[in-house]
Symmetry: C2
Subunit: 342 residues, 2 copies
């Protein structure tokens, strides 16, 4: 790639063909590493390719092949770290391929969300799209993709679709284990900060909490439950609600880390010691969890691995259902939990 200055016109397959004295098609065969090719010819062409710094034009390829080597990612997620981890996972998966990743945040409360998504898909003609929660929980959106003939994979916290179109964690079980950890520490009154209505993940996490409580004969009464919508502010509000009762819980499971951070903040403001007077557990293991004081006990899910798998399902659709779909979570104990006093 000796300095040719900024040549506006990159070398094309024709240049390579001409300079190596073969036909376009032969060059094409070299590019696509066709098996039936004379070794000598191949080497000759490859030399010219290297010399010219030739790179095939993806637009032309896409046009001729009638398929586009671009993956899409569509999301409306309050959790930045999660989205970015997912992006990184996808990049892991496509690094050795010719695929690229196109991102498309949307506003799930927009009245023309569906039209918006439709336009995006029709315009970009992507090879496949990954849908992040909570959008992934919307069956209408999945149906739209099917209608448009666009392959998709949903990321979810429960069995939302068949394995070819799904990567999932088992949030219910993860929360059950987290709450049982608290029970094991001796907690009996364990509060729940629930996620927003209509979110599948919120339902699953709530169910996990109930599973654990019921299994140990503990009450799930209303004074132990408060609803948030996965934001810090609603976490604070839920914390206030739970902590001002007559008999406040000694531990609180919040359905995500940010809300847990809100609970921690109100507790500290009220002079409630953590974990001395109150244990708090979050969910997600986002950057926030390790960074607040005290560091938050939480549940980590392997977003990056899930993203890799999702991307591979799209890249190799024939093997999509063999690609891993279920992903285990990991409980991450930190300093925000301890046995209750006395």
């Amino acid at each position: 790639m000796a300095g040719k200055g900024k040549r506006e016109n990159k070398p094309t397959i024709n240049d390579v063909a001409r300079l190596s004295g073969v036909s376009k098609k032969t060059v094409s065969r070299v590019i696509n590493s066709s098996p039936l090719l004379n070794q000598a010819t191949r080497e000759k062409v490859e030399a010219v390719i290297a010399e010219l710094g030739y790179v095939p034009n993806p637009q032309a390829r896409a046009l001729a092949l009638r398929r586009n080597f671009v993956l899409g990612m569509i999301y409306d997620n309050p959790n930045a770290q999660m989205v970015l981890n997912f992006q990184e996972g996808v990049l892991d998966a496509i690094r050795t391929t010719e695929f690229a990743l196109l991102v498309h945040p949307v506003d799930r409360h927009s009245p023309d969300l569906m039209d918006h998504i439709r336009r995006f898909i029709e315009l970009q003609r992507l090879h496949g799209v990954m849908i992040l929660p909570p959008l992934s929980e919307n069956d209408e959106i999945a149906a739209l993709f099917a209608e448009l003939g666009c392959n998709y994979v949903r990321m979810g916290s429960a069995e939302l679709d068949d394995p070819a179109h799904l990567v999932q964690s088992d949030d219910r079980d993860a929360v059950r284990r987290a709450v049982e950890y608290l029970i094991g520490q001796g907690h009996r009154r364990i509060g729940l900060v629930e996620g927003p209505e209509g979110f599948r993940s919120a339902m699953e996490r709530c169910a996990g909490w109930k599973d654990a409580m019921n299994a140990h004969g503990l009450d799930c009464d209303d004074t132990l439950m408060a609803r948030g919508n996965y934001t810090f502010e609603t976490g604070r509000e839920a914390g206030i609600a739970l902590l001002t009762g007559a008999e406040p819980p000694t531990a609180i499971f919040a359905s995500n880390d940010v809300m847990a951070a809100g609970v921690v903040q109100v507790a500290l403001e009220r002079g409630i010691n953590i974990p001395g007077d109150l244990s708090v557990v979050g969910f997600d293991d986002t950057a926030i969890a390790a960074v607040i004081s005290p560091p938050l006990t939480t549940v980590r899910w392997p977003i990056r691995l899930m993203a890799q798998s999702a991307a591979r399902k799209l890249i190799y659709p024939e093997a999509a259902s063999k690609e891993q779909s279920q992903f285990a979570t990991e409980f991450v104990p930190r300093a925000s939990t301890a046995s209750p006093k006395n």
Copy 2:
């Protein structure tokens, strides 16, 4: 768009031409809203387009026009929220256009970073690329883009490039103002947690701290300075270093929010009250700032606006230097700062 099932073959410009009894070129004119067109013809064609649900194929367009309507974003940033905010800003800017956004995280410590970037650019033939800090501070990378004839915009904290290729905040001035706020509260010994060596933003923020200290005749001695690398853990270490001295500072400015969170955590662990015994100021106003206890005083920069501007510089290169390049920061006082007790 009545249910045609999943027709694999989308309508093309030829279908539209045939059905509306005009030539391809005329349809093309309609699509590109050419001014010289009979109104009747236009309407006729538009009707057919609507009926067919025809959407022009971007690959074919890209091929014919020899340009690709895709913007790229390349980053290796420890700060997820920042990256995501930037993405959203870009999406704001391209929403009404036909552009799409392709993301490409890289590892800046990888030995073949440059090759990696080169391959990416050559392969994707993007219309333009936005480079986020700290990669944006690397002149070699900018030179690579220039060599490859790929338009770019750098996002930085100082004047890294000419306005057509830059969106910048003035970090030095922002930090000066933040530190002067502390001085105004009565602090005299104000510590600095510096960012990583070789980061332009780290240099600028350090310079701002010195500006303020010098302007008020305050000492910048070594016991007031500790270096981190923009991570939580190094923030903790720097905090320990600063707080264990003979005469610890009454306030600390950390060069980003995560490091500030680290300082807060070690302080609280040592029973140092915030803001009673120690004031802490961060930089970035990431999600973390509002979420830790106490909420962190910090400096917000308008990432989203900067991203919009960066995207527009690429989309409308002829107006790139007229598009805003300099962006003002905003000081965000919260509960982590107060006058020192004495």
